[in-house]
Amino acid sequence: MKEEKLIQYLFSSKKKRKSIIETLDDKQKYDTRLLAFLSSDKVDAALYRRILLQIPTKIIPRMANPLLLADFLTSSYETQSNASKILALHGLYVLLTQYNLEYPFFFGKLYSLLTIDLFNAKYKARFFYLLDIFLQSSHLPVNLVASFAKRLARLALLIPQYDQCLIITFIYNLCIRHPQIRIMIDRQPSQSTDPIKDNYLSEEIDPNKTNAIDSSLWEIETLTHHHHPDVATCALAFTSLRKINSERDIHDLLEIDYDEMFEHDINRRIRSRKTKDKTKTTTECPINYNVTVNLFD
């Protein structure tokens, strides 16, 4: 009973009354109790996730010194589970931006998060939302941004089609934000030292040492041949980089799945390219004409 009360006190699931203005004493009391609770072994998986979810929005505002959470967050950031990593990342983000937390090798850890399993994780959308924010800084080294772009492009070769639009657009935005990495797109064969080999070191952990800037985004070129028309057009948009200098919104792309794509495909009206009349939509659908082939050989 007591425990439940404590949990209720620490992580209130109900909506908080906004009128409460807690004094500093209250906040300090809360700090100590919370840290004591977290260091104890009473936390099971569900509660752990719930804590992580609540940290950025509910717990941190109630704390006197949120930096005390840094230990907890880093430890959860270094666990195996992708979900807890992402959630911890959100908490860390708040600490980094609002409470001047110093986090060494932050981007390196972020970079190591980028694996194929990430796309099966539960909080994928949240991660890419955060990643978008982290990579918005204009003070990032070119090597680092290039590594991220290259790694994402590599991953894009293996991820399901609904995420491909997101990743391609993400790289596209990176290219617009950091025009230096555009060298990866339109590399002339004479410029690079060794045109035959890809200079990118995929096994390297440090994003600053991957030589990604010497590589090229062949993966995007491959994705222009993607089977789905939307993905292909997304990838083809890279060819218009010089003409258009505005980023694309990725928030709509964060949470898409097959069902949505299917709905979209079915309800899409195909504009006939010949007539170029945008108001007129063709309802006809082309059919096969080859009658000589058998269905099953």
């Binding site: 090229s216 041949h225 069902d259 269905l295």
Partner: protein
Amino acid sequence: MVKKTSSKPKKRRTFAADKHNTKTRTDVVNKSNPFDLHVNRLKHDVLGKRRNYEKGGQPLKSRSRGIEKRKRTLLKELNSVFKKNTFIDYRLGENDPTLTNDEKLMQRLIAERSKTRLGKESRYNLNDEEDLTHYGQSLSKSDELNQKPVVDDYDDDDLNKGRLKSDSFFGGFQNPNDQRKPQSKKEWIEDMIKSTKLDKYERQRENEKVFDLTSNLDEQWKALSKLINVKERQSKDIKETADDFDKLVSSLKFEAKTTGVPVKTIAEREKEAAERLKTLQIAESERMERPTLKSILAKNRPQTHLSVEELDESYYILDGTKRRVTFDDENEADKNGTLPTEETTTDNGDDSTPVDNEEQGDNDDDEEEEEEEAEEKTNGDLVAEFEEIPSSLDILQNRIREDKNTINIIWKRIRDKRLPPIPKVVLSNYFDVLLDYYVSIKPNQVIYNKVSKILLDLLQSINNDQTKANILNRLKQYHVTLSEQIEEEKFCQVDLSFVVFLKLITYLYPTSDFRHPITTPALTLLIQAVHHASLNSLSSCRQALLLIELTKQWISKTTRYVPEVIVLLMKLLQLACPTGKSKHVLSCSSKQSGNNQLIVINKNIDLSKSTKLTVFSDNDLDDDDNDEHLAMILQTCLNSLIDFLNIYQSLSAIVEIAQPFKSLVQTIAETSKCNQISLKSREVLTLIDTIQTTCLTNRKHLEQGKEQTKILRLYEPRFGPVYEGKKNTRLPKEHAERMGLRRKYKRELKSTTRALILDNQFIAREELRQQMEKDTQRKRKVKDILSELSMQEGEYRKLQKTK
């Protein structure tokens, strides 16, 4: 005036003088009078300047012309200036001096005549109302009196018919048998006349009778005609069942009607078909192309008042579910409408199936009439109308149970051009039914091929919204079941009908299109199934391989990249790798595949006799002795990996795509206990190597696109109007216009004042002339009077003297 006065005495001159004068006049006409020349001396000779005045003016000539003109105009006005009225002679021909007296008379006569005859119709009458008379009596009347009544009914046939016997003429010949008593001539003639009159009368009576009869008959016929028609129709219906010959005749009749177009030769037809095929191929390849950069740019161009969602088509509109394609609703409504009718037809069909064949013969005759009414009927009625085309799956299955050849028979009926064409609604309904049948039957290669061929043919004749909506609805159903399954278990195992149906779609619709209303969502569905394919058992692995095979078929033509398939292949190969031998690139979740070593082969199996993996092999794969199946699956897996690598070898990132397979296949090659499998894996390895090297030699880079060239701003020279030698060319146009007008006004004022002065001079001269004329007359008259008076005085004095 001066000239005029001078010309008068000239006429009175002698002949010689006159002659001379005329000669000089002609000279004047021909060449200008040297004394009548006014030449301005040229002060400055300017080159290139037009000199109009060089010919010199002719002041005398122009002056005389002016005077003549004034005489014609001003003088006349002057003469009538203060006069109130004048006489105008309107007599015919009086004003024309060229007419002679006779001609004037003629004109007047014509006018008089035309005045008396009014109206158009009498215009061309020559002597209509001229009533000629003779001794006071009009001749026309006397004509009337002289007319005799005409015998109208006299026809020469009388002679031929022998009514007037030959003996009435020329006294006749003596008839020996005739023993008439001699008659007096008068009697005889009277007799003859009587007989002829009687004859005539009788003939008239006869004619009248005949006419009456015919008219009566006509009326009766008209009254009867309707009844008779109805009777005829009924008789047609009652007519006994037509035999084969009759049918043939009727069909031939129909054929003759329909084939009005010139019959095409086989060569022509082939040519046409080839052309059509060519255009279709071109259209297909056009659709296959990716959108050009320009169109993408056009899509991406930020439009002023549009939201972000509309910025790019490729973005998913999150509330896309709200938008519905309109025909969905229509289709649903359609379905609701047709459902009850379908039920009724099934009832009918069950009852009438044995009679069906007998009725068919009758239907052929009746269908012509029915077809006209067909359009007025609703769809449901239409479907019921053509009973030989089954309207639901039950009917079709019943009929197939009775006769295995039913589908062919129906297809023949549809193709038969001699019979009336079947409306498209019925055909699309049949398309639906056939699709149902296709999905419902057990896997059988022959039937699948046959039905799919018929479906394609059907689709080619009726490719409309209904068929499209039909297919889409089926896709939606499959999607719903699939996503339900995924939601429950995270991974799914599709059933065979799904695979078969998607296979059919590849057969019916072009999969190579960049964007297609049916194949694009179908492929999305397929990829979803691939992505969530469960690998728990061998049969599910087989299912997954079937899906991969299907995808390969889908994208083989256009070499489109499908990452999910690559991932699935990778997972499958991972299952074949013994643990600990190689590190796994992908982590398979436990739900997807329970056994990590599912297809690890532990025996050496001879694979030479094992068949290819098809839909039709139905045996259970998860029994005890599964090594053979296992090896088969692994082999198929490697085969499809080879296929995909071959398809994708042109992609620029094939090195990265193939890289993870390398280690997997390597371990399989090393650890596999089956020789053929390890051989195969070596083959794959070499293939990967060759592909990677060829790809690395010339990799295609992603192009950034050309930078838009900015046009240099050039300063163009300013072009002014051509210099015309005038100073004020640069002045504004209005001003120039104003100046021009002012100049014009000045010039005109000058000329007008001059004309006025000249007019005044002329008037003064004229008035002076008239005054002088009057004065001289007066003087003469006074002189006369005075002379008379002096004469009188002289006479008087004489008288006085004599007295």
